[in-house]
């Protein structure tokens, strides 16, 4: 288990160093770091509360996400499945 973890983190390190993803990652951290500055009151949330602004997947996407997780090697971090089941055909 520890060996597996170590190998995974080495892979992350190599990949983050080797491409521009590090910039995206830092940008996201900065955005969330600045988040404490914003204070939106309830009456100012008309746009934020719009159903299209939801941060979760749509119900109608459910089976599409399942198909992607079966046809591709990666899954997770999208509110969908991370394991379990076969989808082997």
């Amino acid at each position: 288990m520890l060996y597996t973890l170590r190998k995974t983190f080495i892979l992350i390190k190599v990949n983050i160093k080797s491409n521009y993803m590090s910039k995206c990652f830092v940008l996201c951290l900065v955005i969330f770091g600045l988040s404490s500055c914003a204070h939106v009151k309830e009456y100012q949330k008309s746009r934020i509360n719009d159903s299209e602004m939801s941060l979760s997947n749509r119900n109608v996407e459910k089976n599409e996400l399942n198909a992607e997780s079966y046809r591709e090697g990666s899954s997770g971090a999208n509110g969908g499945k991370t394991g379990g089941g076969c989808g082997c055909n």
Binding site: M1, T4, L5, K7, T8, L11, I12, N15, M21, C24, F25, C28, I31, F32, L34, S35, S36, A38, H39, V40, Q44, K45, R47, I48, D50, S51, E52, M53, S54, L55, R58, N59, V60, E61, K62, N63, E64, N66, A67, E68, Y70, R71, E72, G73, S74, S75, G76, A77, N78, G79, T82, G83, G84, G85, C86, G87, C88, N89
Partner: protein, 434 residues
């Protein structure tokens, strides 16, 4: 004196009444509410795939490697909501999903292509959440079960906690465990042979379990088949596969028009992680069954950022970086742009780009060497790029659609293209009743 005494007694009684701690009725008129059906969601979809290089045929691209799939899936979710005496919101969600599929590759579990090529999957779910809206906390528990044809049974459990902060942020932690059982159905040339040999007459009985789940007993005499019987039943052996996930997420409202979120999953899988009917052909032409390590650690991290541009356009963006202990690295970019035609009708074109590197155990058809320790020719673990695009329409008029109970109708079409020659179309419909 009598008047004075009466006045003092009267004042005392007034003060006593003023300071009394007698229970008073709740001025808000709050009463607990029993669980009541709040929402019904129905999702149905049709998936149609054309592909070759099936994992069952070890990535062969000829007619025997065809991996065409159709899948008709439907799911019904019922949500019940109630409030207890402490004003906590209780949500009970019951779900049932059923899907029917046909898979050309499944027929080749039997080497002559005659195995059953269709199947059914059912998956009931049950989730309960208790939310304290005053404290901004919630706690939930859930269970999940899934069974696909004869291939596997899966049982899952989850627990969730979340906490909202005063600056419009929410943190949540979800722990999930899936406990699968994989039925060990092998390609026909690798059927486990249980022979009762009579050395004098060279007779034997061979038991075979096919992809359709039937176990047959074949009677041989001097190497010639002289009879078969389906009456003998034996339990197909199974192997376990367990998946444990810790999912951490944080969402934050950034300003009046923008909100974002980060989700990190830590996934650990252990057990039989290959599939017994996936063939691998060595460079010598000999075939075997895929063999993969018994452990896999996955680390996906996803970022979402939604922005309300002007009055009618919304930008929904998503990026995910994924890496695992099998050497597979992927990047996913997703952009959806809902355009509000009216306040209650929106059209949403979308595009998704996915780029994946191969797992270190993958090699195409007839490229593995016999001395390899781990090997697979499943193209889900190959290096490829995929593109997905399409559009959806969402109708949510406040007075309902055709009837007042039908509050939301969503229709979505997408086309999926993989550089491995896999193409798919999927059309989905979601109806929400209140």
């Amino acid at each position: 004196m009598k008047k004075l005494s009466l006045s003092v007694i009267g004042m005392y009684l007034m003060m006593a009444h003023g300071f009394s701690q007698a229970p008073v009725a709740d001025s808000t008129g709050y009463k607990p509410k029993k669980l009541k059906l709040d929402e019904v969601n129905f999702v149905t979809s049709y998936y149609d795939q054309t592909a070759d290089k099936s994992a069952v045929m070890g990535g062969e691209s000829g007619p025997r490697g065809i991996a065409n799939v159709t899948d008709f899936a439907s799911g019904l979710d019922l949500t019940f909501i109630g409030f207890d005496s402490k004003k906590r919101k209780n949500t009970l969600a019951l779900g049932l999903g059923v899907d029917f599929h046909t898979a050309a590759s499944q027929a080749y579990v039997d080497s002559n292509g005659t195995a059953k090529n269709n199947g059914t999957r059912i998956n009931p779910t049950l989730n309960w959440t208790r939310e304290n809206e005053q404290k901004g906390t919630s706690f939930g528990l859930g269970a999940y079960y899934s069974a696909e044809h004869n291939y596997y049974h899966s049982f899952g459990l989850n627990a969730t906690v979340s906490k909202k902060n005063k600056t419009n942020g929410e943190f949540s932690l979800k722990m999930v465990g899936f406990f699968d059982k994989i039925n060990m159905i092998y390609p026909s040339e690798f059927y486990p042979v249980d022979s009762l040999k009579n050395t004098q007459s060279s007779d034997s009985i061979v038991y075979r379990t096919s992809a359709s789940g039937q176990t047959q007993a074949f009677l041989y005499n001097n190497g010639q088949l002289v009879g078969d019987s389906k009456i003998h039943k034996q339990q197909t052996p199974t192997k376990p596969r367990n998946t444990y996930t810790a999912s951490l997420s944080f969402t934050q409202i950034l300003n009046q028009r923008m909100q974002g979120g980060v989700e990190l999953d830590l996934v650990y899988q252990t057990g039989y992680l290959g599939l017994p009917f996936h063939r691998v052909f060595y460079n010598t032409g000999k075939d075997t069954i895929e063999n993969l390590p018994s452990q896999r650690f996955k680390l996906p991290i996803g970022f979402r950022l939604n922005y309300f541009l002007g009055d009618n356009i919304i930008l929904r963006s998503y990026y995910r970086f994924y890496v695992d202990s099998w050497g597979l690295v992927s990047n996913t970019f997703n952009l959806e742009v809902p355009v509000k035609i009216t306040p209650f009708i929106s059209v949403s074109p979308f595009y998704r780009l996915y780029i994946q590197s191969a797992a270190r155990y993958f090699a195409p058809y007839k490229e593995h060497k016999e001395q390899d320790q781990y090997f697979t020719s499943n193209y889900a673990l190959a290096s490829f790029t995929s593109n997905l695009f399409g559009a959806g329409i969402r109708l949510a008029p406040p007075k309902g659609i055709l009837m007042k109970e039908l509050r939301v109708l969503e229709l979505r079409y997408s086309h999926y293209m993989q550089t491995t020659n896999l193409n798919a179309n999927i059309i989905s419909l979601n109806l929400t009743f209140k």
